[in-house]
Symmetry: D2
Subunit: 306 residues, 4 copies
C-alpha cells in the first residue's frame, strides 16, 4: 500500500478532532500533522510517511511500557495481583467502577488509576530512580536512545495533574497503592512526558508483535507471556471506553495517548507507530485511528478475520 496516499485519504479526519487542551504543553501542538511508521516483522521491512520523525509526548502509550517493565521486574503474577484486566465502560480518569463495585484494585492497567498503580510498583534500584529505569527501558524497547523527558510537558502534567492526584490518594486510602504517593505520581507524570517518534512506537509494537524479541537484533526484551498478556489488554482496554468500538473496526491491539500517538501490534506481522495530535471525545487520535483502520484493512491485519 502507498502510505502517502493513505495519509492523504485520512487527512480531513484531523478536522473532526481537537488537540488536548487540558494539558497546556499539548495545547500548543499543531493539529495538522499525521505520520506513520510500519515495521513489517515477518519480512524485516520498514517504511514511513508523513510526520513520522516528529517528536511528541508519549503520554498514555507509556502505560504499555511501564506495564511491560513492571512484569519484567516483578513477574506477571505479582502484577496481575495489583490490577485487573477488566473494562470499565467509563472514561479513563474515573473511579466510578471502583466505587460502585467496591473493588480495592484498579480494573485494568490502562485507565489512569491502574497505570499510576503500576508506576508505583517500580522501586529505586542500584541508585536509579523509578523513572530513570523506565526511561532506560523505553529507550531499549523503542530502540531509540534519543528519547528524553520534555520539561515543558512535565511541568504541564504537574500543573494539571489534580485528577491523577485524586486517583492516587484514592488508591492509597483503599490500601491498593503502598508506596509514596508523591513519588509514584512524579514517576507517572515523568513517564508521560517522554518524547517519542512514530519510529520509536513502531519498534515497541514490533517487539510486541514479535513475541517479545527485538526484531532488529534478535534479542528477547520481554517474555512471551508478557507480550501476549499486554497485547490482549491493549485489545480490550487500549483505547479507553472505545476499545470495543475499535476492536470491531480495526482488530489490532492498539494503545493511544493524548499526545496523539498510537502503537499497534499485529501479532507476527507488524509493529505500527502513528502520530496525529487531534483527538476524539474519548482522547484517541482521530486521523491516527482512521489511518490505522485503513492500514489494517489493506494489510489484512484484523486478528478476528485473518
Amino acid at each position: 500500500m502507498n502510505l502517502n496516499d493513505a495519509i492523504q485519504e485520512c487527512w480531513d479526519k484531523i478536522d473532526e478532532g481537537q488537540v488536548a487542551t487540558y494539558i497546556p504543553g499539548l495545547a500548543k501542538v499543531d493539529p495538522y500533522q499525521l505520520g506513520v511508521y510500519l515495521f513489517d516483522v515477518a519480512n524485516d521491512k520498514r517504511c514511513q510517511a508523513g510526520a513520522s520523525r516528529v517528536r511528541f509526548a508519549i503520554e498514555s502509550v507509556s502505560k504499555v511500557i511501564t506495564l511491560l517493565y513492571a512484569i519484567e521486574r516483578l513477574g506477571l503474577t505479582a502484577v496481575e495481583a495489583q490490577v485487573g484486566t477488566r473494562q470499565t465502560g467509563f472514561p479513563f480518569d474515573t473511579i466510578l467502577n471502583m466505587e460502585i463495585t467496591k473493588e480495592t484494585h484498579p480494573l485494568n492497567a490502562f485507565i489512569n488509576s491502574g497505570a499510576i498503580l503500576i508506576s508505583s510498583l517500580i522501586e529505586e534500584e542500584d541508585g536509579q530512580s523509578p523513572f530513570e529505569q523506565i526511561l532506560n527501558f523505553t529507550r531499549e524497547i523503542c530502540n531509540d536512545p534519543e528519547i528524553t523527558l520534555d520539561d515543558g510537558i512535565y511541568q504541564s502534567e504537574l500543573r494539571t495533574g489534580d485528577m491523577n492526584r485524586s486517583l492516587a490518594y484514592y488508591l492509597k486510602a483503599k490500601g491498593a497503592l503502598n508506596n509514596d504517593v508523591t513519588t509514584s505520581l512524579d514517576t507517572y507524570f515523568k513517564q508521560c512526558s517522554m518524547m517519542v517518534t512514530c519510529e520509536s512506537l513502531a519498534n515497541l509494537g514490533a517487539v510486541l508483535a514479535n513475541d517479545g524479541i527485538a526484531p532488529w537484533n534478535g534479542e528477547r526484551i520481554i517474555s512471551s507471556a508478557a507480550a501476549t498478556y499486554t497485547k490482549s489488554v491493549m485489545m480490550t482496554t487500549g483505547l479507553y471506553n472505545e476499545s470495543g468500538t475499535y476492536s470491531v473496526k480495526i482488530g489490532v491491539p492498539t494503545k493511544s495517548g493524548v499526545g496523539g500517538g498510537l502503537v499497534a501490534a499485529a501479532p507476527n506481522h507488524y509493529g505500527i507507530g502513528i502520530f496525529s495530535p487531534a483527538l476524539d471525545h474519548a482522547g484517541n487520535s482521530v486521523a491516527g485511528l482512521a489511518l490505522l483502520e485503513l492500514i489494517s484493512k489493506e494489510l489484512k491485519l484484523s486478528i478476528f478475520k485473518y
Copy 2:
C-alpha cells in the same frame, strides 16, 4: 492433544462452580458433566470427548446467533445503530451503565438488555414468527436439525424473567425498543430455551472461524463482515464482565451461556463447543473455561500470540 486427558485434567474444576439456580429448569441439571467438540476447519477434522452429545439449554450463546441473524436481515449498519460494542464493567443484567452514561441504547449485544433489543429487531415474516425464524437459522448455522425448544426451560424463563422484563421496559421507556415488549421478551425467552449439543456449538464456531462459510458444505451462511464483527464482540464482551480476564488467559473469541455452554471461534482454525453446567460467579462454565484454556494453549490458538 488427547481430549479425554484434557477433560480429566479439568474435571475437578466442576467443584468450584455451581449450577445456575435462579432458573428452576437449569437447577436440576447434573453438574458433573464436561464435554467438548472440536472442529478443525483448516484440516476438516473433528473430534469429541465427554458429554459431547448431551443436549443442554443454549441460553446466552443464542445471543451470538440472534445477532448474526439480525445482521443478515437488517444489515450491519442498522444493527450497529441499535447496540454498541462497548464493555460495561458490570454484571450482565445491570442497567447501571445506561443510567449513569445516559445512553439510550445498550452498550453491547451480549448483555441482556442488548440481546433483548436485538431479538426485538426480528419481525414476523412470511407468516413465520421471530422465534421460528431464529430456530430455523439456528438449525442451519449449527448444522443440527434436531434443535428444539425445551418447554420446561421456557416455562422456567417465563417464571423467573422479571429482571429481563425490567430491562425490556426500561429500553421501551428510553425509546430504544420500538416493538412490542411482550413479544420481544417471548422471542428472547424462547431463543434461550433451545437445546443444543457441543457439536451444534462447534459447528456455529466453525462457521465463525471460517469467515462465515459453512465448512461442511462450502456455502456462505453469514457475511465475512458479520463473522468478523461478531468474533470481535465475543472477545471484548462474550464472557460478561470477565471478558478481559479470559481474553488474557484464552485469547479466543468465546461466548458463554448459563446453561453451561461455550462456543469459541479461533479464526481460520477451530470451531469449539464445550458443555459443563457448573458456573462461576459471573455466570461462565468453570470447567468449560478451564478446558478451553487448556485447548487454546495446546493447539496454540491465542490470537494475541500466534
Copy 3:
C-alpha cells in the same frame, strides 16, 4: 397576608417552568394557572385565591395518601420494613441507588419505585379493589367526595408508564414486590389519575398538620405516629432530589406532583394546597413553590426557625 397579591407576585414564575409533556393527558393543561387554599388549623380559618377550585391530576401527591393508608392498614412497622426513609440524590424514577447499594428495597416511599411498592401492599378487601379503597380514603382525608379518576389521565399513564413498569419488574426480580406486578401498577396508575383541587390538598395537609385529626369534625383519621412519620418523609424526600433545597428555602413538609399540585403541612398551624402546572427540571411546580416560599415567610411557618 393578601393571597391575591401573593399570586400576582409569583405569576411570572410560571414562565420559568413547563407543563409535564411526557404524559399526554397533562401536556394539554393550560400552564397559566396558580391557585392556593390555606387551612389555618389553629384558628379554624380558611382562605383561597386564584385557581383554587380547578380540578387537576393528583399524580405524586397521591403517594402521601397511599403511604398513610398503608400505615393504617398494615401498621407503621410493617411499612417501614418495606421502604426506607433515605434520600437518593437522583431523579424520582431512577434505580441507581438500589443498583449501586445492592439494597433490595426502595430507599423511600416517594420515589416511584417506593410508591409502587407501597401501592402493591394494599390487598383487595371486602370485595373492594386496592384502588377503590385508596379512592375512598382519599375522599375521606381530603374531605372531598367528588374526587374521581380521570380516564384520560389514566389512559395517558398506561400509555407512558414503561419506566414505572421497569421499576416494578425490578422490584419483583429483587424480591421486594410480592404481589402481582400488573395489578400493583394498575393501582398506582389509577391513584395518580385522581382529580383534586387546592381545597382537597389543603384538607389533606390540615389532617397532617393537626396530628392526624380532621379539623373539620374532630375525628382522628390517621394515627399521630403516621402523621409525624409522613411529615418527616415529606421534608426529606417530598420534593425529589430537590428536597434539601426547598427544606432550606421553605422549611415546611411538602409533597409535589407533576400535575402541578403541592400539599404542605405546617405542624399545628396550616394545611396548604397549591396548584400551578408549570414544572421545574425536577418535576416540581415552579410558581407553586415560589408561592409556598412566600407564604412560609409571611406566616412564619419554617419549622427550622419558628
Copy 4:
C-alpha cells in the same frame, strides 16, 4: 426527665457500636462513655449527666461551625454558590454523586467533600490562619475558651487522611476548590481535631436553637438566616446517609461526628450536646442517638409533631 435514668436506659446500646478504628487517635478511646448536656433556651436552664465533662474530638461536628463561620465571613449567597443542600444516598466520603451527576460542586456541606470545600473558603486574615479563626469562632459559639487542638488526633488525621486528600484533589480538578489543597486540608484536619465537651456542643446547639443569639449573654453570634439554613441542612444531611432515618425517629436537627459527639438544636427550645464514642455503620454514635431519641420523645422536641 431524669437524665441519669435516660443514660442508664441507653447504656446497653454502646455494645451495638464500635469506636472509630480508622483514625488511630480515636481507636484508643474507651467506648463505655455516655454523657449529655441540655440547655433549655426558653427557660434558661441547664442540666447534665454522665460523661458530660469529658473532652473528645469534635470531628465532623466542626462542619457545622465552619459552615456558620463561612456564612458569617462570605455571606449565605456566596456559600450557597459553593455547595448544595442535597442529599447523596451514599457514605460521607464518596464522590459517586458528583461523578454520576457531573456536578462540579459538592452536594452538601456535611459530606467530607463539601466540608473541605467550606474550609477552603476561609482565607488568612489579619495574620490569623484559617484554623486560628475557626478555633476562635468555635470557642465563642461554644462559649468554651478551653477548646484546643489535640495534636495526637491531628497527627492521626494527617496519617489517615488519604481519602480526604483524594476528595480535595478531585474538587481541585473539577474547579470547585480554588485555594491551595494542602492548606485547605490542613485547616480541615485541624478543625476536626478540636477537643470539646457535651457542654461546648450544647452551647453551640443553643445558639442555633435561639435563632443565632447566644442565650448566655443575649448577643447575636450568627444571623438568623444562617441559623435557620444550618438547622435545615442538619436535618436533611446531618447524620450522613441515615439522616432521613433519624429525621423520622428524632425529628430534631442534629449533626454527628466520628469522635462520638452529637449536637442537636430544637428550634426555640433546646441546645443539646451528647457524647458516646461507639459508632454505628454509618459513623453515628449509637448510644448517643438512642439517648437523643429518648430525650426528643420525653421533651416533645420533634419539629414534625410539636
